[in-house]
């Protein structure tokens, strides 16, 4: 049996699954100390089911914590960036294409130094350790210890990034350093952006993952635990602390995989309403549609291969301003159950307005676990002006309809699956939807998606096509990726090759090509 957990900004969901059967599920508020919320959720599903803890094969945790931190510009550690490549790249310095507010929060502390490589491995300019040392001292004197290091063509040769990391560590002991070569692929700005965001998020990641571990320890769960990555596969806890940026968009992936699983539909639009954001994605043949081009996270370009989702700042915890009318993007997040009016607080949230408007029970015989009918004290919002309530409901449906429309590929109406804890915000029909489906267990689709997540293996190396034919090289790469997926715990029978990419390296002897292959498979049942 597996436990899937989803830690959102507002709610922590847990689900216990035996194969494809949901044995028990729960939704509890996310707590400031995440481990308390997780512990509570885990305890609930364990007690409800009465199963023996030893029968748990694994705990899969998905979290939108890190994406939310960037979107909301919260809990970000000011981070410096050192880029090696002078005199190249001067006209497009680090963070050049970031939104101003995010650049300000992160510090905009960017430094250019000599070094970097040409495509063929030559040095662009001589690497100067003293220059890097002087920059490291400046960064230290500015009081920063989070640093991202990028170097031109580091996916081909990472030496300068590695040497610079050593120098920075000697100047700033214990520095939190992300090398761009560890994160992404060719495409300097996008790879560097991801590396900077990774360092920004590491403190938060360490606190968060330690919290997960503490929660499991407290409940004496000894099964291994995994964190969901953006491609829907799993990584182990230590890896997640080092590379929180790889969890970006794992929430949408999990909720869409969960929505497909719950609804039985393979082609639909999924609207996942959380506490802080609503993510809209498209299911094609049961998997999220993948973005074709660069993906923005909080307004920053990255080159991860990610589900093509569109996020709006709308959720159950969204703050409501009445004059002029504004819904979100600021949210009370996990403090919903303290701050919202219906829970005795003094902040007007989207949830309050929906409760005041009278909650319609979920359709399709959906259950109401932690959902619709059990939301706080309706009398606390009975004083709200009916006109305001109608205006807010209208605005929310307008926001969702615009976002759904944006993700559609044609004007033909398509089924819309609504999942997530904030699903009560959807109070009417969505223009352009053939039907609105709120499946059983809709509030915990994320956790179900996490629980059914797969494991992956990658092969990323340079092949010389002088010695092998292209087909032989591809077969070899696919074989290596599949072997790694099996070693990571995948059932060999279930393995699929999901991504193949070739990048030729011009002018290298023997027609060298970098081949990247990703294989994924189901976690083998123990």
């Amino acid at each position: 049996m597996r436990i899937g957990v989803d830690v959102g900004g507002t709610n922590t969901d847990a689900v216990l699954m035996d194969g494809t059967t949901v044995v028990s599920s729960t939704k509890t508020p996310t707590t400031a100390n995440v481990s308390a919320g997780i512990a509570k959720a885990l305890r609930t599903v364990l007690e409800d089911s009465g199963i023996d803890r030893a029968t748990i094969d694994g705990v899969m945790i998905g979290t939108t914590h890190f994406t939310n931190a960037v979107v909301e510009r919260k809990h970000l550690t000011p981070t410096a960036c050192i880029r090696l490549g002078l005199p190249a790249t001067v006209c497009l310095p680090p963070m050049v294409d970031w939104p101003d507010d995010l650049r300000e929060i992160v510090g905009g502390n960017a430094h250019l130094a000599h070094g970097g490589h040409e495509f063929d491995g030559r040095e662009i300019s001589a690497y100067q350790p003293d220059e890097v040392r002087a920059i490291a001292e400046k960064i230290r004197d500015a009081g920063l210890d989070a640093i991202a290091i990028s170097s031109v063509f580091s996916p081909v040769n990472a030496t300068f990034e590695e040497q610079s990391a050593e120098i920075v560590r000697s100047v700033i002991p214990g520095a939190n350093i992300t090398l761009s070569s560890e994160i992404g692929r060719i495409g300097l700005l996008e790879r560097e952006n991801a590396a900077i965001m990774n360092s920004c998020l590491r403190q938060l990641a360490a606190r968060t993952v330690d919290g997960f571990k503490a929660a499991l320890d407290e409940l004496q769960i000894t099964a291994p635990f995994y964190i969901s990555q953006n491609d829907g596969t799993l990584m182990n806890a230590d890896f997640a602390k080092e590379y929180p940026v790889l969890t970006f968009a794992s929430g949408p992936t999990n909720s869409m995989r969960g929505a497909a699983f719950l609804s039985g539909l393979r082609d639909a639009i999924v609207v996942d309403v959380g506490g802080t954001t609503t993510d809209i994605g498209v299911l094609q043949h049961g998997f999220p549609r993948v973005a074709a081009l660069a993906v923005d996270i909080g307004g920053v370009r990255t080159n991860f291969r990610m589900p093509d989702t569109y996020s709006i700042g709308l959720g159950g915890g969204s703050l409501i301003a009445s004059n002029p009318l504004k819904v979100g993007p600021r949210s009370v997040g996990y403090e919903l159950t303290e701050k919202a009016l219906v829970f005795g607080g003094d902040v007007l949230t989207a949830t309050d307005v929906i409760v005041a408007g009278g909650v319609s029970p979920p359709r399709e015989g959906g259950s109401v676990e932690g959902g619709a009918l059990s939301i706080g004290d309706a009398s606390a919002v009975s004083h709200l002006d009916a006109e305001l309530v109608a205006a807010v409901q209208g605005r929310i449906m307008e926001m969702i309809a615009i976002a759904v429309d944006r993700m559609k590929t044609s004007a033909t109406p398509v089924p819309v699956i609504v999942v997530g804890g904030g699903s009560i915000l959807v109070t009417g029909a969505v223009e352009g939807a053939s039907e609105i489906i709120k499946p059983d267990h809709f509030p915990v689709a994320n956790a179900i998606g996490a629980a059914i997540a797969q494991v992956g293996g990658e092969c990323d190396r340079i092949f010389s096509l002088a010695e092998l034919s292209r087909d032989e090289a591809l077969d070899q790469a696919k074989g290596e990726a599949s072997d790694r997926a099996v070693n990571a715990g995948a059932d060999a029978e279930s393995i699929e090759i999901v991504d193949v990419e070739e990048v030729p390296l011009a002018y290298l002897p023997g027609n060298a090509t970098r081949i990247m292959v990703k294989a994924i498979g189901d976690l083998v049942e123990v």
Binding site: A88, V96, F153, T409, S410, E502, P504, N511
Partner: protein, 390 residues
């Protein structure tokens, strides 16, 4: 037509130029970011109508020369175009009055705007291709004219500069320049093809900066109203959507400095197959084995929903695209031109099969007043399964 390029014009030009890149020419996004910072510093860049140039005005073209995969990684220093022009001016002992566009397709749409603004001279609303091509001699400024690619000057990100004072042919100029570009890290700024105003007027593919801007503006507008963006692109270029489907295989090789290869698409029903041969740009398209478009006609690939250009370096398995074929400008279709930019010039043993019509290189009234989208769309529906996204 455009009289100046402001911050607001960058995005439409980048989108239009990306589509006109026919898969090559590099992504104008980075050049656009760079141009924005130069405009913020110096103000808008002036654009001059080619027919407003004095006959004896001195012009040249500028552009970045190198490999597309390098351009997204080894970003420029920023003053390459201006420094290349200054090297060339020092050689000939005269200042340029205006800078023409070598290649409107792709990143080289931005370089003459950046270089002109930095050098304090206007950019001419004419280029030499109306699209993207991989080599210097593939330029209408050089077909059957007295202009020559050399003398030309090249600079890299550092203080390395090279001058080619003379070449026995434009192909020789290309070969030498290519080798210099490789030694400069597969990316260099180049200024060359010195011309008078009269030569620009006689040989240019005119108003293509305005066309890129118009195309990009229509794409943005179509995205906003959820229209069929590929159909709008086809309409703006007087072309047709010839295929909708997803990428099922990409075969890349690099030889002689170019990313060559083939890409295969399948329609959603799986019944039809489109194959495209590329050498930096998309050159020949086959549907179910039959040739449907040939260079120099334009073969443009855009994402199916957003209509964003898909370049050869971002071709990936699974991407859903629409493929548009559009007629080349008349300047590329003469016998002399086809010897340089026809299918045989790229090593394909097939004849050029011109698509009818064409708007590229025509007066701006031709593309700003006509709205033929509805007829385009119905034509596309009549075509049946090739263009049917379902």
């Amino acid at each position: 037509m455009l009289r100046q390029v402001t911050l607001e014009d960058i995005r439409p030009i980048a989108i239009g130029a990306g589509i006109l890149g026919t898969g090559g020419g590099g992504n104008p996004y980075l050049g656009g970011l760079h141009l924005a910072s130069v405009i913020r510093e110096k103000g808008p860049q002036a654009i001059i109508d080619p027919f407003d140039l004095a006959d004896d005005a001195l012009c040249c073209v500028v552009g970045s020369i190198g490999a597309p995969t390098v351009s997204i990684e080894k970003l420029p220093e920023g003053t390459e175009m201006m420094r290349a022009m200054r090297e060339l001016e020092a050689h000939i002992g005269r200042r340029f009055d205006a800078v023409a566009i070598a290649e409107i397709g792709g990143a080289n749409s931005m370089q003459p705007l950046i270089g002109g603004l930095q050098a304090g001279i206007p950019t001419v609303d004419s280029d030499s291709m109306g699209r993207a091509f991989p080599e210097i001699q593939m330029s209408s400024f050089l077909f059957d004219t007295s202009a020559k690619a050399a003398p030309l000057a090249m600079v890299d990100v550092a203080d390395n500069a090279a001058l080619i004072p003379a070449a026995v042919s434009d192909v020789w100029a290309e070969k030498m320049a290519r080798n210099i570009a490789v030694s400069m890290g597969a990316r260099a700024g180049l200024a060359g093809t010195i011309m008078t105003g009269a030569q620009v007027k006689a040989a240019g593919v005119h108003y293509t900066l305005s066309l890129a801007h118009h195309l990009g503006s229509r794409v943005i507008e179509a995205q906003e109203r959820k229209a069929d963006v590929p159909a709008v692109v086809a309409d703006a270029l007087d072309g047709e959507v010839i295929f909708c489907g997803k990428i099922t295989d990409v075969d890349r090789r690099v030889s002689k400095g170019f990313a060559r290869g083939g890409v295969r698409f399948e329609s959603y029903s799986g019944a039809d197959v489109l194959e495209i041969e590329f050498q930096n740009e998309f050159l020949i398209a086959y549907i179910n084995g039959e040739i449907v478009a040939t260079v120099p006609d334009l073969i443009c690939i855009v994402t199916e929903e957003e209509g964003e250009p898909v370049t050869t370096e971002v071709l990936r398995y699974g991407t859903r695209v629409a493929v548009i074929a559009a007629p080349a400008p008349a300047q590329l279709k003469s016998g002399v031109a086809l010897d340089v930019v026809g299918p045989r010039a790229f090593g394909y043993d097939v004849d050029f099969r011109p698509l009818p019509g064409g708007v590229i290189g025509r007066s701006p009234q031709r593309f700003t007043t006509e709205e033929k989208e509805d007829t385009q769309r119905s034509q596309r529906e009549l075509q049946g399964n090739h263009a049917n996204p379902l």
